[in-house]
């Protein structure tokens, strides 16, 4: 079994179904269908093999047809597909063999119901990349606008409407008469030919502006087009194309003054509004054409009354706005935000009804704060991941359900996109049972004054991960930053280590106050302080039974008794400071990862107090299973390793048994930088069975941009993949770390690491999507009839074979 999730909900604009009860969201290779009433996912359309770039819902031709749920999707894999998304079922596939960046279908917007019988051809305008003509053309102008006959499933001849350097967004007018794109400071508008003939001449006008235009929108009824530019201005041209698109070709060339219109452009007037301080990303007319919605980087949705220019605001959304979609239901609309959230708005009042919460995007911090950990903690029992977000929150995301559960506001601040980052959540730790959380935050100083480090302890409410603050500690290690926070397995002890050279053990005193209901009140007090030769403490970990605390003092590992605060032993020395410590389950081994110029993954035996084995690997994350001795490490591949051998995959997950330096399984992954690993305990109800047995434990990998995959590391087919690669690993790595511990004498016979070794028989081994596994998944009432399923199932198997042959 394998679960993917954490995909971006905001890669392309979503689309409402005709009854406004469903929202179709492009989520990488699939289109997810969400219910607007509950905000939960209903189903998904699976079939595309690359990023889905547009989804167009077929509008109803008559009021009775409102219940019909058909849509067209276009993807980078070069196909346009036609779906019935109520079932969901693929109806038709059109392969045009060029990646499609954007698709609009203007013509069915104006097909009157009477014409249906005549069977007009349906045309789509697509934005594609020309893959063939690379020789004669300059590379710059390879993105083309083409016309596609959807009824006949092919591109229309050699008709190229326009070419640009970059893929642009095609915008179609609600009436279906025009569509346009922006191109730097220009605006190209085409008039859709009335007749459904293939080669009807498409007329085009161009409007000019002095700034780079970012977004355009058409008025639903009038010849008005609005455009936003990078400086935040909104331009509104009225009566564009009066000359070029005139119905009767009679020239009415009267030189009247055209206020605001540049360069003798074909428009009556042009007016400018300026409220946004940064570029405008969202522009949309209301369905009656009386209002214009605009939004941009500052996260404020502005409603302009078109006639008067009066404004109304939905302020403080907290994230740059990307898309605004009106629904057929006038009381509902949706905005997509850059932090992977889609808010459903109740319309005239603009209150947020529901939020479709995707996983929040990783936050980017100033350079000085790098290396403070990735701020990701796994809740093993509940299958949740806690990750810090840009708006000073900790988001709890369910890995099994693929949706956001809750957010905990860690700092009492609101995030405003574009602000300087002055407060940073540096670490988050969860107790084993997930009921307690500890976070640390740093307030950056202004020219050396006013810096503050806070350590906060939280306790979960009765349900739903509603955390409440129990204790704040200001400047826990004087002014030094916190390097790591870790919970004791019992949950009533926390260690925080600092770069200032000490670590503190915090203990929880819980007084149970019995008023109306049982109410536990936790308070945390400092129990002990320890330091080792004033060295910066860089990492900390408790052993599985909680009897030993390991704290890394730069290159050394110090072992302490956490209850009595007694130094038990000091272990060896690594070359560079240790950034990650982890006890390996119940076994008496300790894994330490150090980074820097001489990265190293080393495993230390607690019984012998010596190094067992080590690799020269740049480790991003280490995770150990609670009750087995195996652990997984996410290693970054060296930059020098050839990109083609890994196909853009820059990291590997290595599964080790603690006693054995040879990994039991290997997977290569993408975007490993900033990634995280975590073992999850299996809750039998949440996981479907494979071969009649549930997997013991699951491994979750979260990539640098928070896409994740959950899989069974001991699964058979995962093994098959890895076994074939054992040799590959041995040639990659295994190098002892000098002779001072007698390590080389034991492992001396291992092959030397040769970075230039040309034969690295790495096969991209990340298990590919296997549709035959997912076809039958889901509840039975959602499944299509068996006859349909069977053919699809067999088909998928066939595809697999052919792929293997290739």
């Amino acid at each position: 079994m394998m679960m993917r999730g954490g995909r971006s909900l905001v890669s392309s604009p979503p689309a409402f179904s005709n009854d406004a009860k469903k929202l179709l969201v492009c989520t990488s290779n699939t289109v997810s269908v969400f219910s607007t009433a509950t905000g939960l996912q209903i189903t998904s359309l699976e079939g595309h093999t690359a990023l889905v770039t547009s989804v167009v819902v077929v509008p109803p031709s008559s009021p009775a047809a409102k219940v019909l749920c058909y849509c067209w999707t276009a993807s980078l894999d070069g196909t346009i597909r036609y779906w019935d998304f109520s079932v969901p079922e693929l109806m038709k596939t059109i392969d045009i063999r060029v990646p499609i960046f954007n698709m609009v279908i203007p013509s069915f917007l104006d097909i009157p119901a009477v014409d249906k019988g005549k069977h007009q051809d349906l045309f789509a305008y697509v934005f594609t990349e020309d893959t063939k003509e690379t020789q004669e053309k300059t590379k710059a102008l390879r993105r083309q606008i083409r016309k596609c006959n959807l009824s006949k499933s092919r591109l229309v001849g050699r008709l190229i409407l326009g070419e640009t350097k970059k893929p642009e967004v095609l915008t179609v007018s609600p009436s279906g008469k025009f569509f346009g794109i922006r191109n730097k400071c220009k605006l190209h508008i085409w008039k859709v030919p009335d007749q459904g003939s293939e080669h009807a001449a498409v007329r085009k006008i161009t409007l000019h502006h002095t700034k780079k235009i970012t977004v355009i929108a058409f008025h639903p009824t009038q010849r008005v087009i609005a455009a936003g530019d990078v400086t935040g201005r909104i331009l509104t041209w009225r009566g564009f194309g009066n000359i070029a698109f005139a119905e009767n070709q009679k020239l009415i060339n009267i030189q009247e003054d055209k206020p605001g219109v540049r360069d003798n452009d074909d428009a009556d007037s042009c007016s400018t509004w300026h409220w946004h301080s940064a570029e405008v990303n969202v522009l949309s007319f209301s369905s009656d054409g009386a209002y214009l919605y605009s939004g941009g980087k500052e996260g404020v949705l502005v409603v302009w009354q078109l006639d008067t220019g009066k404004k109304k605001f939905l302020p403080r959304i907290g994230s740059p706005l990307l898309y605004f979609i009106d629904s057929p239901d006038p009381t509902l609309s949706a905005i997509s935000c850059a932090d992977n959230q889609i808010h459903l708005l109740k319309m005239p009042s603009m209150g947020i009804l529901k939020t479709i919460s995707g996983i929040k995007t990783p936050c980017c911090y100033p350079e000085m704060c790098k290396g403070l950990g990735n701020g990701i903690a796994f809740d093993q029992t509940a299958g949740l991941v806690a990750l810090r977000t840009e708006n000073y929150c900790i988001q709890f995301y369910s890995l099994f359900d693929d949706r956001g559960i809750s957010e905990v506001h860690v700092c009492e601040r609101n995030h405003q996109p574009g602000d300087d980052v002055t407060v940073i959540v540096t670490a988050v730790a969860l107790s084993v049972d997930g009921s307690l959380m500890s976070t640390s935050e740093v307030k950056l100083a202004e020219e050396g004054i006013g810096g503050l480090v806070c350590l906060k302890f939280w306790q979960a409410g009765s349900q739903n991960k509603e955390f409440s603050l129990s204790t704040i500690v200001y400047d826990p290690h004087r002014d030094a930053g916190i390097s790591a926070v870790t919970f004791h397995p019992s949950g009533n002890m926390v260690v925080s280590s600092s770069f200032g050279g000490d670590f503190k053990i915090w203990r929880c005193n819980n007084d149970i106050i019995q008023n109306d209901q049982m109410h536990q009140n936790f308070s945390w007090t400092c129990h002990a302080v320890g330091s080792y030769k004033k060295r910066p403490m860089t990492a900390a970990a408790f052993s599985a039974d909680g009897s030993v605390l390991a704290v890394a003092a730069e290159t050394l590992i110090t072992l302490w008794n956490p209850y009595k605060n007694v130094l038990l032993a000091v272990l060896g020395e690594t070359l560079t400071p240790i950034v990650n410590l982890s006890f390996l389950g119940k076994s008496d081994n300790l894994a330490a990862a150090s980074c820097g110029s001489n990265p190293q993954l080393s495993v230390w035996s607690m019984s012998k107090l010596s190094l067992s084995w080590s690799y020269k690997l740049c480790i991003e994350a280490v995770a150990s299973a609670v009750d087995s001795s195996s652990f997984a490490a996410l290693a970054l591949l060296p930059e020098s390793s050839n990109e083609t051998t890994f196909k853009g995959r820059d990291g590997v997950i290595l599964l080790y048994n603690a006693t054995n330096p040879v990994p039991t399984a290997i997977w290569s992954v993408k975007k490993a930088k900033g990634g995280a690993l975590g073992f999850l305990q299996v809750n039998p109800s949440s996981v479907e069975e494979v071969d009649g047995k549930t997997p013991e434990v699951l491994l979750a990998y979260m990539s640098g941009d928070h896409e994740y995959v959950v899989f069974d590391p001991y699964c058979k087919d995962a093994h098959e993949v890895s076994i074939s690669q054992k040799e590959g690993l041995s040639s990659l790595e295994l190098k002892g770390q000098g002779g001072q511990y007698g390590y080389a004498s034991i492992y001396g016979e291992l092959p030397e690491f040769d970075k230039k070794s040309p034969e690295t028989p790495w096969v991209p081994s990340f298990p590919s999507e296997r549709p035959w596994e997912t076809i039958f998944s889901g509840s039975s009432h959602n499944l299509p009839p068996l006859t349909k399923l069977c053919s699809a199932f067999l088909e998928s198997l066939l595809e697999k074979r052919t792929a293997a042959v290739e």
Binding site: R316, I317, G318, H343, K346, S349, G351, I352, L353, K354, T355, H409, E412, R413, N414, D420, T422, V423, K443, A445, E446, E447, G448, I449, G450, G451, L452, I472, Y474, D475, D479, D511, I513, S523, T525
Partner: protein
Amino acid sequence: MAEIRAEEQTLAISKTFLIKPKLKPKARTLPQTPESKYWSSFKSTQIPNLISSISSLSFSPSPPHPFAAAYSASVSLFSPLSLSDGDVSPSSTISSFSDVVSSISFRSDGLLLAASDLSGLVQVFDVKSRTPLRRLRSHTRPVRFVKYPVLDKLHLLSGGDDAVVKFWDVAGESVVLDLMGHKDYVRCGDCSPVSPDLFVTGSYDHTVKVWDVRVEDSRSVLEVNHGKPVEDVIYLPSGGLIATAGGNSVKIWDLIGGGRMVHSMESHNKTVTSICVGRIRKENCGDESMEDRILSVGLDGYMKVFDYGNMKVTHSMRFPAPLMSVGFSPDCRTRVIGTSNGIIFAGRRKGKENVESGGGGNVLGFESISEPERRGLRPTYFRYFHRGQSEKPVEGDYLVMRNKKVKLAEHDKLLKKFRHKDALVSVLNKKNRENVVAVMEELVTRKKLLKCVSNLDADELGLLLTFLSKNATMPRYSSLLMGLTEKVIEMRAEDIRSSDPLKGHIRNLKRSIEEELRIQHSLQEIQGIISPLLRIAGRR
């Protein structure tokens, strides 16, 4: 019929966060019990400037329970109602005494007040007119206590340094009984709350004697030995127990059990001077019940609350002077404590007015004044259109909550408008240093603090420098303020040089810094002394 407009639940993404000072660390003591919360809920007011020590305090049994305080050669009456308004002047004063007043006692209806003085005279006053109605002279030595029986309006009990306890007929100004038996000064006594005939007296001969006026030949019916000179004795409300105070201890005796000592409370460090019965309202499992406590005050300046049901000290309060007397009003709302230096600490508790004392009883008797019948509302009345607006919700009503309006302080409002300098100035004017530091911290997070400093004009700079000179050396804020002070002086050096008032501020600042340096030096010296000792201690 209420019209309810149900708003669909909408979510807010961002909240309003007020600029709040950093949290202070809580003292690592036990959390407040409900009981200590109750006792500290008495809002304390000081009645200062009374001459000499407060020898006795007595509450009138009739509402609103005014209390009388005896000090020097006068007795003052205070109204608890004016106390809650903050008025601490006595409502009336009786000063027709020739010597120091030792003890006072209200009659059970609160109309008469008996007072004894050290000249050996016991006088009975009308509380309203303050005229002495009776003068009872028989004691040959100073009288130390006088007491009206609880259930008897005609008699009076007194005792004094002549070791005789006298039972008076007040109307006839005559002694009914001379009770001999004490071998030393009689200092205190109390009358039984359940019987008009029984009373106890305590004496410096360490004994407490129980007397019964019905007994022939005036002998005490029971005698207990406290072990120390007895300073105060009271009957507990059941009438079966008495509490005695003497030395550092308060002892509880079971009279019905033949004078057996039930418990001895020894938590005072100096002599316990006075005790009285206090009451606390307990709410367990929904129903209310009153529980009695013993309040004891001592020369160590502590007031202790003793739960004689559980034999535990449940609360203790410290006062800055030796305490001489204590009183607790029958309606449980006023607690007064007299000190030896002429200050009364009166504590008044907020609460309903209808808490009646057990023994008080309504004297006046016209409590149920029939309310005028309410006329029905008609559309001609203005109130008709306002009907139901202030209606309280009935149980079972569904409440549609209106979002609470967030109260913004002035600096919050200014910060919301990004008027950073104005916010800083406004909070500096408010003189709350915690808020000032909080606003400064917020400005640091916005990276605007130094910009603000550079924009301040001369007056505002003076304001800031005053604040800095006062607070820069406070350990809690010094990490921020020291750095800021340095920057301010650096940035505004020229303005400061050109202005004399600013120079004055700088001088103040310098002085406070020098003082702080001196403190730090001496602290370091102490550390130098201590650390080798600690080292040695750690080696053992």
